[in-house]
């Protein structure tokens, strides 16, 4: 085994573009591992982890491209590095959009621009967002790794100018039917949504769509907006905007519980709101504050959908796709097929909200869960790669995403984890999420299928069954084919639901019934 690398100075590409190059290079015969990265300090550490080090790497800057290769021979490394130019050019040509070199240049071309969408490394966000706000643009900031101080400064600056800062760490918004970032193709309608989590909004909007309703706007606020430090600046502005919006009849807020000081401001604002508000504060326990009039509390996103569709005039819930029939048919067989040693659920999620909501549902069912992103701090895993009992992993959390794209785009790590968890002797059920929509993988099920089949086969070889349960967050209008995605899963023996809530309830039923109702955590 040998390794080699090349540094190409002043060639900057984004992480998704580089993932495409990496995939192509890794397909070369005799290649064991490739890393195609920009020369940030984090990325240099990742290269060192696979044994690729050198003075030129030490000296590389964040806008220098580094390509590292581990292969069976020097000849293969030379061939891979030699083919790099070709792949970079081929992939570049596919981008048709007109391009400019800076925000100022772009603003000079379109003075009527009203929204800046920013997805660059977090350390550079402040400068670019500030420029956009100064020019009077609202901002959608996908990037994470922006400091709290910078976020607060940007939001205060924007609020003075009546501009909206969606983010940082904002995955999804839908404005007037147009999806920004990771968003699903949902029907337009009269339900407005606000939330800090991308997948939370994706789940809510797709389930409203399945229930026959539609979305006026879904406004992402960024993951920290409801913290005491930020004070809910974007959430409160979004609430004002949706209250004023003539299309919106009911407003839903989907989030983890807001911090105390934010809640003290949010509740009176909800009480004063002229429209009904549905609040789904996942993981919330024992509110000491008096609930404001006009607030309808939902325990899960599914419940929030039921409430909003019922509150919206003229819309009757009519779920078109549930997967429940398949599930009930299989449920009895499944309980019988598990061996006494198979006791645990392992959830592997691309969506942070799914991981969180599943923990809440299992906790409510009396099951003790562990996680790298726990609902209760005492149940944090000591190491994110070592599961115990019922473990639910947010694979979009920082430890899995430094230097690589989000698992909704790149499922390499999740596929590997499916294989290892699926073969662990005490594991009974794997719980997964599949997220469709703009910017998600073109074939999210296909990316995971081989691992699912291998894990199931390995267990069968030992005379055991592995139960795999998945929820699909998506609509028939998404770029991926929803029916085909579901069919692929079902053919592989996966039990499919249209919501994470239903999928998790099903897992808890299987485990509780198999263990005779006792807490097996």
């Amino acid at each position: 085994m040998v390794s080699g690398f090349v540094v190409r100075p002043n060639e900057y590409y984004d992480s998704v573009f580089l993932m495409g190059i990496n995939k192509r290079l890794a397909e070369t015969e005799g290649v064991l591992q490739t890393a195609v990265l920009m020369g940030s300090e984090n990325n240099k550490r990742l290269l060192a982890d696979i044994g690729i080090v050198g003075d030129k790497i030490d000296a590389a800057k964040p806008n220098d491209l580094i390509v590292g290769v581990v292969a069976e021979s020097d000849g293969i490394i030379e061939a891979v590095i030699g083919s790099l130019e070709y792949y970079l050019t081929v992939q570049e040509v596919s981008v048709a959009t007109e391009q400019y070199r800076s925000m100022d240049e772009a603003l000079g071309v379109r003075e009527d621009a009203n929204l800046a969408v920013l997805s660059i490394p977090g350390e550079y966000i402040f400068l670019e967002a500030q420029r956009a706000l100064e020019a009077g643009l609202h901002t959608f900031i996908f990037s994470s790794n922006v400091s709290v101080d910078e976020e607060l400064a940007l939001k205060l600056f924007a609020a003075e100018r009546n501009l909206l800062v969606m983010g940082p760490d904002c995955g999804t918004s839908i404005l007037g039917g147009k999806g920004i970032g990771f968003a699903n193709a949902v029907r337009q309608g009269t339900i407005g949504a606000i939330g800090p989590s991308g997948t939370g909004l994706q789940e809510f909007t797709t389930l409203v769509h399945h229930a026959g309703g539609g979305i006026s706007h879904a406004i992402g606020t960024g993951s920290r907006d409801l913290s005491n430090e930020i004070g809910g600046i974007t959430t409160l502005m979004a609430l004002d905007a949706l209250e004023d919006d003539s299309e919106t009849e009911v407003i839903a807020i989907i989030s983890k519980p807001p911090d105390k000081r934010v809640l003290e401001e949010l509740f009176p604002r909800i009480e004063a709101c002229t429209k009904s508000v549905v609040g789904c504060f996942l993981g919330i326990e024992g509110l000491s504050e008096k609930l404001p009039e006009g607030l309808h509390l939902a325990r899960t996103i599914d419940e929030a959908v039921d409430l909003t569709t019922t509150l919206t005039s003229g819309q009757i819930a009519d779920p078109k796709y549930t997967g429940e029939d398949t599930a009930s048919k299989l449920a009895d067989e499944i309980k019988e097929a598990l061996s006494p040693g198979q006791r645990f659920i392992r959830g592997l999620f691309a969506g942070g909200t799914f991981c969180y909501q599943s923990q809440q549902i299992l906790r409510d069912a009396g099951l003790e869960t562990y996680s790298n992103a726990p609902i209760d701090r005492t149940h944090k895993l000591e190491h994110f790669d070592e599961s115990r009992g019922h473990t639910l992993i947010d694979m979009g959390d920082e430890e899995y995403t430094v230097g690589r794209p989000h698992p909704m785009i790149d499922s390499t790590i999740r596929a590997r984890r499916i294989l290892s968890e699926g073969q662990a002797p005490n594991v009974a059920v794997l719980l997964l999420d599949v997220v469709l929509g703009h910017n998600a993988s073109a074939d999210p099920v296909g990316d995971l299928l081989e691992s699912i089949l291998k894990a199931k086969r390995a267990r069968r070889d030992q005379g055991e069954e592995l139960v795999v349960v998945a929820s699909i967050c998506g609509t028939e209008d998404d770029p991926q084919d929803l029916d085909l995605q579901r069919e692929q899963l079902e053919k592989a023996g996966v039990i499919v639901f249209d919501s994470n809530g239903k999928a998790t309830h099903f897992c808890s039923e299987v485990i509780m019934s198999a263990s005779g109702g006792s807490d097996v955590g």
Binding site: N10, Y12, D14, V16, F17, G39, K61, P62, N63, D64, V95, A96, T97, E98, Q99, Y100, R101, S102, M103, E105, A106, L107, R110, D112, A113, N114, L115, A116, V117, L118, S119, I120, E123, Y124, F126, L127, E128, A132, L137, H138, F142, S143, N162, L164, L175, G176, K178, G179, I180, G181, H217, M237, A238, D240, A241, D244, D245, H438, N439, P479
Partner: protein, 57 residues
């Protein structure tokens, strides 16, 4: 008179996309007007130089 956030919601959106090209492509597929900025780290990614630039701007 509509305020700025109300204007954003009533559209149409004209977007400047700085970063991931896939975001620009998906917005174009939805028939939004998008201008792509081919972003590179300023000052060659040198943090000291960036801080200096931020102070100057």
């Amino acid at each position: 008179m509509l305020d700025k956030v109300d204007e954003l919601l009533s559209g149409p959106l004209v977007v400047i996309n700085v970063g991931l090209r896939g975001f620009a492509e998906s917005m174009e597929e939805q028939e939004l007007e998008v201008i792509q900025v081919d972003w590179k780290p300023p000052a060659g990614g040198d943090q000291e130089m960036i801080d200096l630039l931020e102070d100057l701007l």
